[in-house]
């Protein structure tokens, strides 16, 4: 059994007990424990079920490489699936539950897959479930989906908050072991700005666990003094619990700091994501131990040798009473020694090598540990827990020589440098025969923005393991850490054994699966990965990739470097999605742009419509009113009395300079240079394709100043468009622009009573004579400084009044107060749409969609034929745009008075070559007109203007059609008397 030892545990505080639950069972751990160490201390080795076969799974590692010990952590609005027990710090009240089983961890129906394992090899699903066709969707896929997946899906909104922080440094060091600390000391002492990150809560890495000696001190002492020294340096920032997640181009690194994962609900952000821009990145990310491939290597109780050491030394937890050590290198002997020194039993060390005479094997022998060289494990015995191992010759085919009872196996297949961060941006690797591992090829590093090397690796991440070499900065020759690769145990294992050798514990990929993939032609390492799912589990192959690769290369008869690796992609370990969304949730999910009258709208029941980042009132429904009824009321009131519209979102751009007229003549399709001071003109803008992109009223302010109104969504886009041409094409033209959209609140005062209201308020002459249609004037109204434009988008008598934004709300209030006697009512965007449609005015975004020209819309009068050039002129001349057969704007009236469907198409006889029904036009805007008490619509119809009075058929989504007559698009007040009043 696994249990807590009486003594030791460098990271735990035995005086602080932490009560927690696992599958509802109340257990006790200590402060400083990880969830994994606390589970082991409570003899809970079985922690989950594998993905495919639902085999029992135990804790195998002690760090982020753990593939098995994944739990549902917490519950309700703090439920977190797939949380790694090995990196979860224990806290009082922690709730964990195991995953991927039903009804229980110990008895899982899904384990039936295990008994069928022979029928479910790699890629079996590509070869079956093909017939009958409907069965995949209705039968097979649902079953597979239920069986797959791991943790539970959260149901509630996350209770926690997250944030980002930007940081900058000359040198970013990732990994707080000896190598990282030494790199930080060197860079810090050289005066560089340094950030040092460590993913765990503790500094020192492996050396402090293994009791190494560094510069004649114990590693523990060396680390303490190094950290102390770094803390005194103002140019050095230290962060632990902070994982270097990804390296991106130009020295950008993403790091994930766990602030309150171990103190949930304490009010701090749960996590903080660091966005670091570093001059240089040093990856001191250590190495990960590899499992060995022997039959039954996935049975709970089989663990990585160094992880066993971690549990004993750091947490005083023994994974088992009797632990068999199996290895191909010297390092694992330290595990045997550590266990024996802790008073535990190591029945045998099985060393696959023919000889083992290094210092550690010698020490082990001296302690009386039985060491067998040239031996391996033929098979591990046990079901939900190891009960023993069968020993065989490594060089043989698995004939059992001896069976030894044990309850744990500590395995070591050598070490793989953690080269993820080196590789994220394209750093290349070379295969080290000495280390049997891929190491960074320092001749082919990832490149920074200036072409220099962006990342370097130190310590174990570079394949340098000896602290002396790390401190001295020398490359080790690797002799001391040389290993004999063992990719399969025993070497000649028959298929029966190979099909029980696990490579990927979580995804259930075995040696036989990789061999099958190779045999079937999935020869590329990426093919094999994808065919077998090797390395695609939540550990992203940290344990399995190299072993799988080696098996593949053997199967192909190729060398490992020729087979190559799969691509390393960020993040190094999975990162909480909420953390990557940062602060952007709820109210601050996106900026909300507010006009000065925004609060008034909100308080007066506005039903909102998002328009870009603005939100505009769609209508103001009253109690008991539907939105449609509210819109109709607003339309009628505006037509008959007085409507008030918050038009502040309209874009307002000042264009000034000696060349401003010339510039606007290029920008607009019509002439603007000849607009008289004091007057307004409607203008159109096209892109270079000749398609309409924006429209609005331009006012000439003075000799060299124009004010251009744009659509609400268009202000920033059009301002950018102007600057683009001024900066990049016509840079010698003397023109300045300024976007003053937000400087002004703008109110449209619309309706027969509009003038009455303004005259009542008083302050300037707004009579027809003093301020005729399409003119503007500065003045004051009710004591407010205003600029009044006589323009109309409704066909009504209308004043658009601009007022400094800081007076906007007060001015709006005043209009309502003073306007009450004239029937003043606010109206929203939908009423605006109906009003303009009744008048046949086009709306950018409704009549246009990026493929419509001004000529299509009958706006030829606003397209200058005199100008030699304007943006879009050449584009419009292209054959397809100049085609006389194009669909053109007309009005549409249904024969029965009904309202046409939004987006309906006009159908034409027959079908095209692809069997699609022919069409001859489409509806662009369609409304019920409360003024005319019938449906009105605008649409683009083939040769439309030449077909007045003809009836066309518009389709319905359910298959029928509606007949409509082609009419003039101006439905109301065709002579324009109301607006000119």
């Amino acid at each position: 059994m696994s249990t807590r030892l009486q003594k030791g545990g460098r990271l735990i505080d035995r005086s602080t007990r932490a009560e927690f639950t696992f599958n509802g069972r109340r257990l006790i751990g200590h402060a400083g424990d990880t969830l994994a160490s606390a589970l082991l201390a409570n003899d809970q080795m079985l922690v989950g079920r594998s993905f495919k076969y639902h085999r029992p799974r135990g804790i195998v590692a002690a760090g982020p490489e753990e593939p098995n010990a994944l739990v549902n952590l917490g519950r309700a609005d703090r439920l977190e699936p797939n949380q790694r027990a090995t990196t979860t710090e224990l806290y009082a009240g922690l709730e964990a539950a195991s995953q991927n089983h039903w009804p229980s961890l110990d008895f899982d129906i899904g384990v039936v897959n295990n008994y069928l394992a022979r029928f479910l090899p790699a890629g079996f699903y590509y070869k079956t479930f093909i017939h009958p066709r409907a069965a995949w969707k209705h039968l097979f896929e649902p079953i597979i989906r239920q069986s797959a997946g791991l943790g539970s899906a959260p149901k509630e909104t996350d209770a926690d908050r997250y944030e980002f922080v930007y940081a900058f440094c000359d040198v970013l060091i990732i990994g707080g072991g000896i190598a990282g600390l030494q790199a930080a000391l060197t860079a810090g002492q050289a005066g560089k700005r340094v950030i040092l990150l460590e993913q765990t809560a503790h500094w020192g890495g492996r050396a402090v666990v293994d009791g190494d000696t560094v510069e004649n001190e114990s590693a523990e002492e060396w680390v303490t003094s190094a950290v102390d020294a770094l803390k005194t340096m103002e140019n050095v920032t230290l962060r632990n619990r902070c994982m270097g997640a990804g390296v991106y181009d130009h020295g950008y690194v993403l790091a994930n700091e766990r602030l309150a994962d171990h103190t949930p609900g304490d009010g701090r952000p749960k996590q903080r994501v660091w966005r670091i821009r570093a001059g240089h990145i040093i990856s001191a990310t250590g190495a990960i131990e590899r499992p060995l491939s022997f039959a039954g290597n996935d049975i709970p109780g089989v663990m990585l040798a160094a992880s066993v050491r971690d549990y004993v030394v750091n947490y005083a937890v023994s994974p088992g009473d009797r632990t068999v050590v199996v290895t191909n290198n010297d390092d694992a002997y330290l595990t045997a020694i550590t266990l024996v020194e802790a008073g535990l039993s190591v029945p045998v060390v099985l060393d696959a090598r023919a000889q083992a005479d290094g210092p550690l094997p010698s020490r082990a022998r001296a302690l009386g540990i039985r060491v067998e060289t040239g031996r391996g494990i033929a098979s591990v015995k046990g079901g939900k827990r190891v009960t023993g191992v069968q020993i065989c010759l490594q060089a043989g085919e698995g004939a059992v020589m001896e069976e030894i009872a044990c309850d744990a196996v500590a395995m070591s297949g050598g070490w793989s440098p953690v080269v993820h961060l080196w590789s994220h941006c394209g750093g290349k690797l070379i295969w080290s025969e000495t280390l049997s591992a891929f190491v960074p090829d320092s001749a082919r590093p990832p490149l920074n923005h200036d072409g220099s090397a962006m990342v370097s690796c130190v310590g174990a991440a570079a394949g340098v393991y000896d602290p002396a070499d790390i401190i001295a900065g020398t490359d080790s020759d690797g002799a001391a850490t040389a290993i004999v690769p063992v990719w399969m145990m025993p070497q000649g294992a028959p298929i029966g054994l190979r099909s029980k050798m696990w490579l990927d514990y979580q995804n259930d990929v075995k040696v036989s699966d990789v061999q099958l993939a190779a045999r079937e032609g999935y020869e590329s390492v990426e093919h094999t990965k994808r065919y077998t799912t090797l390395g695609m589990a939540t550990d992203q192959g940290k344990l399995s990739n190299i072993n799988g690769l080696a098996v593949l290369s053997q199967a192909l008869g190729a060398e490992i470097p020729q087979v190559g690796t799969t691509t390393f992609r960020p993040p190094y370990t999975p990162v909480t999605i909420g953390a990557l969304a940062g602060e952007a949730r709820g109210e601050i999910f996106q900026p909300l742009r507010r006009t000065p009258m925004h609060d008034w709208h909100d308080q007066n029941g506005a039903y909102w419509e998002p328009v870009g980042l603005w939100r505009r009132p769609y209508c103001y429904p009253r109690a008991g009113e539907t939105h449609d009824q509210a819109v109709q009321r607003e339309v009628i009131n505006t037509r008959e009395k007085l409507g008030l519209l918050d038009a502040s979102t309209l874009g307002k751009i000042i264009v000034k300079g000696p060349d401003a007229g010339r510039f606007l003549d290029m920008l607009y399709t019509n002439m603007m240079s000849n607009l008289a001071v004091g007057k307004c003109r409607y203008g159109l803008m096209c892109n270079e394709q000749g398609f309409l992109s924006d429209d609005g009223v331009v006012a000439r302010i003075d000799e060299d100043t124009w004010l251009c109104h744009t659509t609400s969504g268009g202000a920033d886009r059009i301002h950018g468009w102007m600057e683009d041409w001024l900066q990049c094409e016509w840079w010698d033209w003397k023109v300045y622009t300024a976007n003053v959209t937000e400087q002004y609140a703008q109110v449209a005062v619309v309706g027969p009573n509009a003038r009455k209201l303004l005259e009542k308020i008083g302050g300037m002459d707004v009579s027809k004579e003093a301020l005729p249609f399409m003119q503007w004037a500065d003045g004051s109204l009710g004591g407010f400084p205003v600029r009044v434009y006589r323009i109309s988008f409704s066909g009504e008598l209308s004043y658009e009044i601009a007022i400094p934004a800081s007076h906007g709300a007060a001015f709006w209030d005043m209009l309502h107060r003073e306007g009450a006697e004239f029937g003043a009512m606010p109206y929203g965007t939908e009423c605006l749409h109906v009003l303009r449609a009744e008048k046949g005015f086009i709306m950018i975004g409704d009549e246009t969609d990026g493929t419509v020209t001004p000529l299509d819309l009958g706006l030829g009068w606003a397209v200058s034929k005199k100008k030699a050039d304007f943006l879009g002129k050449r584009g419009m001349e292209r054959t397809y745009l100049a085609d006389p057969e194009r669909w053109k704007l007309v009005g549409l009236e249904t024969l029965d008075g009904s309202v046409l469907s939004d987006g309906a198409y006009a159908v034409a006889p027959g079908t095209n070559e692809n069997g699609q029904r022919n069409t001859e036009g489409r509806v662009t805007s369609t409304y019920y007109s409360p003024t005319l008490k019938k449906g009105i619509a605008m649409g683009l119809i083939k040769n439309g203007p030449d077909r007045m009075g003809e009836v066309v058929e518009l389709n319905k989504v359910d298959g029928g059609t509606v007949k409509a007559r082609i009419v003039d698009a101006v439905f109301f007040d065709k002579e324009g008397e109301k607006g000119n009043a």
Binding site: V165, D266, A584, R594, H807
Partner: protein, 181 residues
């Protein structure tokens, strides 16, 4: 005459740093080539001094910030805007320029406290340590445009008025107690 109101009416938040919306503040966007001779003299006459690239120069109750090679942001008491606009118009009458009153198009915030820099570090992709004294930095605060500079032991940040509520929201989030870096 009515009193102008700032975007948030002087909203305040006390976290590990103090956030205050301030204003209304007079602001003028002045577009003009910096080497136009009348510019420096006109500015001087109006109580401003021409700032260097990416700097803000402070006068008695007014400042001039460098926004781009041909753009300044003049900051001054709200009540003085009209007179200053007139002064610019006359001083630069023969110089190609554009002056626009943007007092009401902006919102201004003060971020104060020992750890005020941490608030900005969470929102702006800017290396605050390498910021020169009196450097005006135009950048992004989370998802919106912003400009800031160090002043009086804290920072002054300017954003567009329409997003003042959003900016206050992100500043609150960044300055919340317990979220010190």
């Amino acid at each position: 005459m009515h009193n102008p109101v700032s975007a948030l009416g002087g909203e305040m938040f006390e976290g590990f740093a103090t956030i205050r919306e301030v204003g209304p503040m007079g602001m003028i966007t002045l577009r003009c080539k910096m080497d136009e001779k009348p510019l420096a003299t006109t500015l001087k006459k109006l109580g401003f001094s021409l700032p260097d690239q990416r700097r803000i120069s402070h006068g008695k109750d007014r400042s001039a910030g460098w926004m781009s090679p041909d753009e300044l942001l003049l900051i001054l008491p709200y009540a003085d805007v009209a007179a200053t606009m007139e002064g610019l118009a006359s001083g630069l009458a023969k110089t190609h320029h554009l002056a626009a009153d943007v007092s009401d198009a902006r919102a201004m915030f003060r971020i104060e406290g020992e750890k005020a820099d941490q608030v900005l570090a969470k929102l702006c992709p800017v290396d605050l340590k390498t910021l020169a004294p009196a450097e005006l930095r135009r950048t992004r605060a989370a998802q919106v445009a912003a400009a800031f500079w160090a002043q009086d032991g804290g920072y002054t940040l300017v954003s567009f008025r329409s997003v003042a509520g959003y900016v206050m929201g992100i500043l609150r989030h960044a300055a919340a107690k317990g979220a010190e870096i």
